[in-house]
Symmetry: C3
Subunit: 133 residues, 3 copies
């Protein structure tokens, strides 16, 4: 298995595009599966279209589904941090993608993104691991 | 890695059963993992029991959690299409299943389904990829 | 592929920690991927921090997102059981984790848990399968 850990600068963005880095990692590797994994308790990974408005739509949806208020038992750091800790339960930090001929077999509108509502951590890690078939 | 792309006729169904096609794909392949992947920005994959009412229950839940109204920035196609674009963030289009002796090791009540709230695309693709262990 | 099925005593707990058992299963196996799979229609798998309040926070969030009342078509067993059947659609019962040098490459605060809102089944199964890279 080939594996690498990327340093990802998320700043205070909710959604950070990882597609090109994953594409670079699998380039030339033939057929197999790539595991993408975020080793964090307040971030997830998703596939979504970018650049058409879904990033702020996701922010609104998360605010509605996991409100950032004082309802949580898990409370430290910024207000609403308890919500951050439920995010990876709904948006898993583990994702496996098929690789065909050294290319991730994504659909035309799919991008691989890190979803991170926790503004207190501007730098994250993402591990990519390739298993040949 | 053995890989195949299925053409899936979803019509306007929210839930389409893929179990038998995946079972046919892995038949005779021994032990390994099968990756099921929908290369679409408005569909997801799930495991659920079918035929006991959970399909309309899921439709109701999605209408409640991701309402099909005009709140979304992502707006083109039918009303509420912005909700379709958030569906794969919550219901991932990537799923990996264990295969034992050429059979998907599902529980008695589990079916593998495509979840697609986007009525504008009656035909979808699903890629299955098998890696032997 | 090496595979094992664990018997998991969940009692009436919503969240059951599986981390140590998965760690024991992959110990000494080198690099690869471990598939964790719950063959049940009313349970899911997640990565989350434990012991800081997120378990009751998750219980509250699920009660809010998938209320345990009489709205569901899928109705048998306890009240609200229809909600149990939607849980694995949102919290998938399939999870793949990278293994490096015989250790699951988790983040410092991540634990692998079974999420099971169905109090009628105090004992569950979880299958772990390791593929070397």
């Amino acid at each position: 298995m080939e594996t690498v850990v990327f340093r990802v600068e998320v700043g205070d963005r909710l959604v950070t595009d990882l597609t090109d880095r994953i594409a670079g990692f699998v380039e030339g590797r033939g057929d197999g599966l790539v595991s993408v994994f975020a080793p964090h308790a307040t971030a997830g990974l998703a596939l979504m279209e970018l650049g058409s408005g879904s990033e702020p739509d996701l922010a609104d949806a998360l605010d509605r589904l996991l409100p950032r208020d004082d309802r949580y038992r898990h409370r430290h750091g910024s207000a609403g941090h308890g919500a951050d800790h439920l995010l990876p339960v709904v948006i898993s930090p583990s994702l496996v993608l098929p690789v065909i001929g050294g290319m991730v077999a994504l659909g035309a509108w799919q991008r691989v993104v890190l979803v991170d509502s926790n503004g207190d951590n501007p730098v994250r890690s993402v591990r990519c691991s390739f298993i040949a078939g």
